[in-house]
Amino acid sequence: EPEVTQTPSHQVTQMGQEVILRCVPISNHLYFYWYRQILGQKVEFLVSFYNNEISEKSEIFDDQFSVERPDGSNFTLKIRSTKLEDSAMYFCAAGAFFGQGTRLTVV
């Protein structure tokens, strides 16, 4: 069983629309993370989440982004008013273990 399950695997959205990316991590980790990887570039840290609160965030994680853990198991990343440059793979991680990612394409 994978440590982290992400849905959807691929999301296509119109520029300006809101998207919600979902993650179900194995619950025995303390820290959860969101990272992104633009095609051909490095994996970049977005935000870490501990004890149901944001513990750290990068410069990338601006007001356009938000994270929630609505029910104690699911973990979501919301991107408001998507831009073309938000197109990337988004990875959720529980500790050192990554999910398979959501490929977000903004058109």
């Binding site: 982290v4 992400q6 820290y31 993370y33 990272y35 570039q41 490095k42 994996v43 970049e44 840290f45 870490s48 501990y50 513990s55 750290e56 990068s58 793979m89 990875f91 050192a96 273990f97 990554f98 999910g99 398979q100 990612g101 490929r103």
Partner: protein, 110 residues
Amino acid sequence: EDQVTQSPEALRLQEGESSSLNCSYTVSGLRGLFWYRQDPGKGPEFLFTLYSAGEEKEKERLKATLTKKESFLHITAPKPEDSATYLCAVQAWSNNDMRFGAGTRLTVKP
């Protein structure tokens, strides 16, 4: 500022030809150094965590080593299925996130 530099960017090997990948890092207080394998369109697959200089870990044909300035991922007698991008990341005591290098794209030809 924490930095991770991986070399070479790309490496082509013949099956059975052993080699090493390098990860040089600068970090203010290393909490852990991580190696991952990433296949195209997939998430990073965890391989190893190293915590202190002198530490070594092995898994099948892979062995990771760590010094105070760099880490090596040694690949012994590689097979075509070892072809992937290998990522190195560091985590400092001062924060919780991992800082990644750009990766080494390994191709193993039969």
